[in-house]
């Protein structure tokens, strides 16, 4: 057979980057080579040979030479994860010998969507984390909670500790997703104990990209995105609104004739409006003076209450005015490279993200630089700098814009007759175009991280790594309220302005000694010991004024009167000593133990220091001889178990233990110095003890991996506000009381389902996490179960009135209660025979046809607060996601979904639209199509009343029909991408080009009727998360 030389370049399919270090072996032989720094290889083969390309982290590919002399290969990142390297606290470890619970995010999630906030990428892509998008505001951080969190009082506020390139941070805001190398989540206490002080809520370790040896690689990524709402509220048209609102007013007037005057007033459905600027709505009777409007797009209808009169009106769709198709552009340019002595990477990015709601947006500039120099044979010095400058515009009030303004009655004037914008009813339920334009709000943040660290190999087995960092955040905000019409006839020109400047400043100094050795053949031992010093200061300066003479100057220099000036500073220091030893016998029996001793300045004088140990063991069963008797399908199996104690003081402000007298307020010009917080010098660390057992299973030669964890975390000494009895004069005191349990299971399955059959690959990843919390212990307070809060309801099983909800030993966090709607009375007679309803407003409790028939739980003939029933829980118990990557040669398709199950949302907006709690808000289509009417008696939507709470209180009291399941499956991403064949672009001197089209947040499969189903609890308007369509290109030179 003829020998020939085959040459080629190996690239990464996702990014197009060339890939060094790929093994290229002739199948069935030991003959082989590996790719160089630029991804090139050259090998002598026979023309009928097959080449095998393999590299850690990538799917192995076999390619028949078939006589070719040039073979370029794009390697597909493999999701098989059992041999991946995992970053752990102060080190790195192969998953093979890992004994703790660590999840690694698949970074391909970052390839296509230009995340304004990197945390969003964690959604559905990591087990054990509940990540919820609670707002569609660009740049906003999602809610991230690990394993249910550790907080009783604020279950959503238990944020993990983020460590970005060794620097502790409280969020991932303003980091460019283009600069992320890896994201990992340390979940169990044994893995996080080495971060002792603030590790209870998990540690998320983020590493940014750094330079690699080899020729300089230049990468440019760019995308353009269009976003718009996928779902809108189904609201009534102006005609429907007028009809139902006038009938609803008449309905309320049956018992409360004092309100009937509103029918003639200048409100949304009243006929007291005219064409002048004195009224905010268009609704009015047809007269000779206004009939010309019918030729200008106005409509008419008979007055439903008096068909002899004609009402004319103009319809405006406020959702259409508030939301837009928003444009987002993202650019990131980077260069990296290096020699044997030094490597570097520099990058710069710009993101401009318009919000789907007008006048909202987010912009960010990023500068990233890192470098590493071998200053001596045994000393490496690394430095990195990250700078970001971001700014955003947000609406002035989420509820007022996303519940009220978007549902301003469609009869409101958008423009007056002279063409100027009308203000709507008033600012809190106004014309969003007018009011959002009258308020100026600019928030600017500069974040700078400077990091310096070194690796000193003191001896063969001993090294020392010192590091120092400075992280500063500077915030500059400016707000200005231009003069404005609060309502049609109230003009406000106080021109309130404010400016604030804040500085956050954090220094850290760490040093770690590492000793590694192998004794005999099989005893692998390593040890770490180190110290850490953390020092954080905050400073803020705020000033406000009013009385500017003009709208044209939004800054304080124009204000004629100062209204507030203040500055304050605060300080925290945490110091710690830590260590870890790891031992394994021939990678078969694994043991690791760690501990940290931490002290914090804000703890009580009696308990500043705490010790946090962790221990974990593992057994690689497949290393045992008997494993050969197990069927081949199971290629590896490791059992793991861990136990550890971690701490948390995130809920503790800087000088909390010492009590506080507040200053700054006045009474008749005299200063008031007010005792606002009771001292408690006994405050100590919150302690979480976590047991975690799990296994790592490899199937089909580890092409499919399954990770499983069961955990139980009990947090004692909870830093919790103990609610005090009211005679103390204080609502609460912060103490270490109570105990919370979270337990659950986590699954992760990743695998290459189909690989390398004629170039078609399909890899699948799935994860699911289940968490359930239980309150184990609360402070003694003379109540049964030491209950705090809660409501008195009838319990059918015991036949007694009992307290449910609130916080109780044995209970759960976040239970909701409401009145159960059984149906709607079809006739007055049926209503008259029902129980007396104490919650009907006023002294006349008569119920009518169209009113809700409530569950009389205690069968006492009276509906009162004790008839409330359990209506769900605010927290999801199942969360997870699925991702599928299909690739065929240069084409790939990614489909990612994620889900959450078990949370209940009180759709207060829908209840408000159906019950007109506002007095002047639009109706939902449910009112139009389903509400009780004399000729539509069988329904589950009550008769429409104006101001339900003043009428029959069918909705306002909390009606179970509006406590909706929030369960959803989100179609989070679909990406189709194409990598141009190397031979096409090579002639242009381009290494690779990848183009893609992505749909992001395409759809929520959910029964929830609101716009954003991700967060449980009350929905009184949320900034919806828009759909986005993205076109992007990555170019490598």
């Amino acid at each position: 057979q003829d020998q020939l030389t085959v040459k080629g370049t190996v690239t990464v399919q996702e990014s197009g980057n060339t890939l060094p270090g790929v093994n290229v072996v002739v199948k069935g032989t030991t003959q082989g080579t590996s790719t160089g720094a630029n991804g090139h290889y050259e090998i002598m083969v026979s023309e009928n040979d097959t080449l095998v390309f393999s590299a850690v982290g990538f799917a192995t590919q076999e390619v028949a030479v078939a006589g070719r002399s040039a073979i370029d290969i794009a390697m597909v990142a493999s999701v098989a994860e059992l041999d991946e390297m995992v970053v752990i606290g102060y080190g790195e470890q192969s998953r093979k010998t890992l004994t703790t619970s660590v999840a690694k995010m698949d970074t391909s999630v970052l390839n296509n969507v230009p995340f304004a906030n990197v945390s969003s990428a964690l959604q559905g892509s990591v087990s054990g984390l509940r990540v919820q998008t609670t707002t569609g505001q660009p740049g906003a951080s999602p809610q991230v909670v690990l394993r249910g969190g550790t907080s009783i009082s604020n279950p959503d506020g238990a944020t993990p500790l983020y460590i970005v390139d060794g620097v502790k941070k409280s969020n991932l805001n303003d980091i460019s997703s283009n600069n992320i190398e890896s994201i990992q989540v340390l979940k169990d206490a044994a893995s996080t104990a080495i971060y002792g002080a603030r590790a209870s809520n998990g540690v998320i370790i983020v590493e940014t990209k750094s330079g690699q040896r080899g020729t300089t690689q230049i990468n440019y990524r760019s995308s353009i995105q269009m976003s718009q709402l996928g779902d809108f509220y189904d609201l009534g048209t102006a005609r429907e609104y007028i009809k139902f609102a006038r009938m609803g007013m008449a309905a309320t007037g049956e018992k409360h004739p004092e309100f009937l005057g509103r029918l003639d007033m200048a409100n949304g459905f009243g006929t007291g409006n005219d064409l002048t600027k004195n009224t905010a709505f268009t609704t009015q009777y047809l007269t000779p003076d206004n009939e010309h409007k019918l030729n200008e797009g106005w409509q008419s209808m008979p007055d439903p209450l008096d068909p002899s009169q004609t009402i004319i009106f103009k319809s405006t769709d406020w959702q259409d005015k508030l939301f837009r198709t928003a444009m987002t552009t993202n650019h990131y340019l980077s260069a990296s490279g290096g020699s044997e002595v030094a490597t570097y990477r520099v990058g710069a990015g710009y993101l401009s993200n318009e919000g789907a709601a007008i006048q909202t947006g987010y912009r960010r500039l990023n500068f990233d630089a890192s470098g590493s120099v071998k200053v001596r044979e045994n000393i490496d010095v690394n430095a990195n700098v990250n700078f970001s400058n971001s700014s955003d515009e947000q609406v002035f009030n989420i509820n007022q814009i996303f519940q009220r303004s978007l549902a301003l009655p469609s009869t409101a004037k958008f423009r007056y007759e002279d063409g100027t914008l009308a203000p709507g009813q008033n600012r809190s339920i106004g014309n969003p175009v007018y009011h959002l334009n009258r308020s100026v709000s600019e928030n600017n943040l500069n974040r700078l991280t400077l990091g310096l660290n070194a690796h000193w190999q003191i001896a063969d087995n001993l090294s020392f790594e010192p590091s120092a960092s400075l992280y500063t955040v500077q915030g500059i905000d400016n707000e200005f309220q231009k003069s404005y019409f609060f309502s049609a006839n109230q003009f406000i020109d106080s021109r309130d302005a404010s400016g604030s400047h804040s500085l956050f400043w954090q220094r850290e100094l760490d040093g770690v000694f590492t000793y590694d050795n192998t004794f005999g053949q099989d005893h692998n031992f390593s040890a770490k010991a180190g110290f850490s010093y953390f020092d954080r200061k905050n400073y803020s300066l705020f000033a406000a004024g009013r009385g500017a003479a003009t709208d044209n100057i939004p800054t304080l220099n124009a204000s004629s009167e100062e209204t507030a000036v203040s500055s304050s500073t605060s300080h925290q220091v945490i110091a710690g000593y830590f260590g870890r030893i790891s031992y394994d016998y021939n990678q078969k029996y694994l043991l690791s133990a760690s501990g940290r001793y931490d002290g914090a300045s804000n703890l009580g004088g009696n308990n500043k220091w705490g010790f946090f140990p962790g221990v974990s063991v593992g057994w690689n069963v497949h290393e045992e001889k008997f494993w050969s008797s197990i069927p081949d399908v199971a290629s590896s199996f490791k059992l793991r178990g861990s136990y550890g104690v971690t701490g948390n003081i995130s809920g503790l402000s800087d000088f909390h233990a010492q009590g506080q007298y507040s200053v700054g307020s006045e009474y008749n010009g005299q200063p008031m110095v007010t005792s606002t917080r009771l001292p408690n010098q006994d405050l100590k660390w919150e302690r979480s003890r976590t047991v975690d057992v799990g296994f790592d299973l490899g199937l089909f030669n580890d092409q499919v991996t399954v990770l499983f964890d069961y955990y139980r975390r009990v947090t004692d000494d909870l830093l919790q506000s103990l609610e005090l009895p009211q005679y103390t004069g204080f609502t609460s005191i912060l103490t270490n009381l109570g105990s919370l349990e979270n337990k659950g299971v986590e699954f992760e399955i990743q695998g290459d389902v189909i690989q390398n059959r004629s170039g078609f690959n399909w890899s699948l990843g799935a994860n699911a996490s289940y968490n359930q919390n239980k309150i184990l212990e609360l402070p003694e307070n003379d109540n049964e179960n030491n209950r705090i809060g809660g409501i008195l309801v009838y319990d059918r099983s015991s036949g007694e009135y009992v307290y449910k909800g609130g916080l109780q030993e044995g209970g759960r966090l976040g239970d909701l209660f409401a009145y159960q709607q059984l149906g709607i009375y079809a006739t007055d007679e049926e209503a008259a025979n029902g129980p007396t309803d104490e919650l009907v407003a006023g002294s006349d409790k008569t119920k009518f046809a169209g009113d809700v028939r409530w569950l009389d739980k205690d069968d006492n003939g009276t509906i009162d607060s004790r008839d409330r029933v359990y209506a769900g829980n605010i927290l999801p118990n199942w969360t997870g996601g699925f991702s599928n990557t299909f690739s065929y040669k240069n084409l790939s398709l990614i489909v990612r979904t994620d889900f959450a199950l078990g949370h209940t949302i009180y759709n207060e907006s829908l209840a408000r639209f159906n019950g007109q709690f506002q007095g002047d808000i639009n109706i939902s289509k449910e009112v139009v199509n389903q509400s009780w009417l004399s000729d539509r008696r069988q329904t589950d939507v009550p008769r429409y009343y104006w101001a339900d709470q003043l009428a029959q209180n069918n909705l306002f009291r909390g009606n179970t029909r509006y406590y909706e399941k929030g369960d959803y499956l989100a179609l989070r991403e679909i990406t189709l991408s194409y990598t141009l064949p190397t031979r096409w672009v090579k002639t242009l001197g381009i290494r690779n080009v990848r183009a893609y089209a992505t749909g992001n947040n395409l759809h929520y499969f959910t029964n929830y009727k609101g716009l954003l189903p991700e967060e449980g609890g009350q929905d009184s308007g949320r900034y919806p998360n828009p759909q986005s369509f993205i076109f992007g290109i990555n170019v490598g030179l």
Binding site: S665, Y727, T728
Partner: protein
């Protein structure tokens, strides 16, 4: 590193660094108003006036306020809880405990400071006792985690003993009979007014009898020795630019940038609620609108004013729509506290008056009448100012004790409407079931005179029993 963990704050004061000198003492004493003023801004009206016949539905959603004037409160909707009253007591207790150990430049300033703390504590317990009857008694400031968290209610008689002790202590401590400039801090005349009020209550509600009536009358008459008088023009008492006028004994100060609005912002009318065909006169009275008309003067109250009563227009406005010459009642609004207009917005920042001289005069009349003396001089003083030139038509002539009592109660309605006094007046005079329409059918249900303890309050303190009947 351990030394670095010992930090002290720069921008806040901690418990062990305060209460060192006179300035601390005055700042700490003033902090009573940090808690008290927000209670006065609306809850004081709710406790003292809302369950009476003064108000009814307004133009805007009443958002639960109807539960008061309809008298349908229960343990789940029990009105404001007492926590911030107890915080005010805590601040007073703290001042009473700390001030004696602090050196003042002038000893008289020190005793005045202590006297103010005692008077405040007495006033707040007086609110508590009238509203809920038995309440927990706290006379020491807590200074950390409380030993036991539950505390039972103390018998209301003991609460009144504490109130009277505090007032006697205060009256002996006040160095003189003067007022502070703003008349917005407690003074000896104000403490005497309070003492009179307390003793009238205990005389009539707690079997205090003649002794308490006499104590009331003596204290009230001592008020007259101070620099107080009726203003010529009724409306002037309440005007924003006339705060601290000579009719005022004690008011709680409200000011822009210092406090929030007082309760009239839910009794006034916003412009967009005024139809274009409302009569010009009413429009003029209201001027720039503001607030929301969530409740409004009731028809029953409005009809008790005659046209020649200068207090009518100064207390409320009636709006009529005019259509084809027919005028129809449309709405009413409280104008007594109309604040001022700034940059297009009406700001309801009038002081809330706790005691003023006309109130004292009518209490003197009440005490005299109960003691069998002629109350007509005081009643006529009040009426003379109210009716001016038409006074002769309204001259009060001494009648039977019962008739006099009725007249005094009605005079108090007209004089003190919306000042947060009416409900307590009705209870003190024993007329709540007769005069409040929503209570007509509840004759004999005496428990309704006290308020229910909110469930939320009881859930935090298992030892607090609910008031019987709720």
């Amino acid at each position: 590193c351990t030394d670095n963990l010992e930090l002290s704050p720069t921008s806040t004061i901690t418990s062990n660094s305060f209460w060192q000198n006179e300035q601390d003492a005055m700042g700490g004493l003033n902090s009573m108003y940090q808690w008290f003023r927000p209670q006065v801004s609306s809850n004081l009206y709710i406790w003292g006036g809302a369950r009476s016949e003064e108000l009814s539905y307004g133009l805007q959603a009443s958002e639960g306020r109807e539960r008061y004037f309809e008298n349908t409160i229960d343990a789940n909707f029990a009105g404001p809880d007492w926590i911030r009253l107890y915080t005010t007591i805590y601040a007073a207790n703290l001042a009473i405990a700390e001030i004696p150990d602090i050196n003042f430049t002038e000893e008289s300033d020190k005793s005045r400071a202590l006297a103010r703390a005692h008077t405040m504590r007495a006033y707040v317990y007086f609110i508590l006792a009238r509203t809920w009857g038995d309440v927990p008694m706290v006379t020491e400031p807590i200074d950390g985690f409380p030993e036991s968290t539950g505390k039972e209610r103390t018998d209301v008689n003991e609460i009144f003993n504490l109130i009277k002790q505090d007032l006697d202590e205060a009256l002996s401590l006040f160095p003189d009979n003067s007022f502070p400039d703003c008349r917005c801090q407690w003074s000896r005349p104000a403490a005497n007014a309070l003492k009179g009020n307390v003793n009238l209550w205990t005389a009539k509600q707690m079997d205090g009898g003649q002794e308490d009536l006499q104590a009331a009358l003596t204290a009230l008459q001592q008020v007259q020795e101070a620099d107080v008088s009726l203003l010529q023009n009724f409306d002037d008492i309440f005007r924003y630019n006339n705060k601290g006028n000579s009719e005022i004994l004690m008011a709680v100060h409200f000011e822009d940038l210092e406090s929030g609005a007082m309760y009239n912002n839910s009794m006034y009318v916003r412009n967009d609620q005024i139809p274009s065909n409302v009569d010009e006169e009413s429009k003029e009275v209201l001027g720039t609108g503001g607030g929301l008309n969530r409740w409004a003067p009731s028809e029953l109250l409005r009809n008790q004013f005659t046209e020649d009563d200068s207090r009518k227009e100064a207390s409320f406005a009636e709006l009529y729509t005019v259509e084809n010459g027919d005028s129809t009642f449309y709405a009413s609004a409280v104008t007594k506290f109309r604040g001022f207009v700034d940059a297009g917005a009406r700001k309801f920042l009038d002081d809330v008056i706790l005691y003023r001289y006309a109130d004292v005069l009518l209490m003197i009349a009440e005490a005299k009448n109960a003691l069998g003396q002629d109350p007509s001089a005081e009643i006529n003083q009040v009426r003379q100012r109210a009716y001016g030139d038409d006074f002769s038509d309204h001259l009060f002539v001494n009648g039977s004790q019962e008739v006099n009592e009725e007249a005094i109660l009605q005079e108090r309605l007209r004089e003190l409407a919306f000042e947060g006094k009416r409900w307590w007046d009705l209870v003190r005079f024993g007329k709540a079931f007769d005069l409040v329409p929503s209570l007509h059918d509840d004759q004999g249900e005496g428990h309704l005179l006290l308020w229910p303890i909110p469930e939320s309050t009881r859930s935090l303190n298992g030892l607090v029993e609910q008031n019987p009947g709720y």
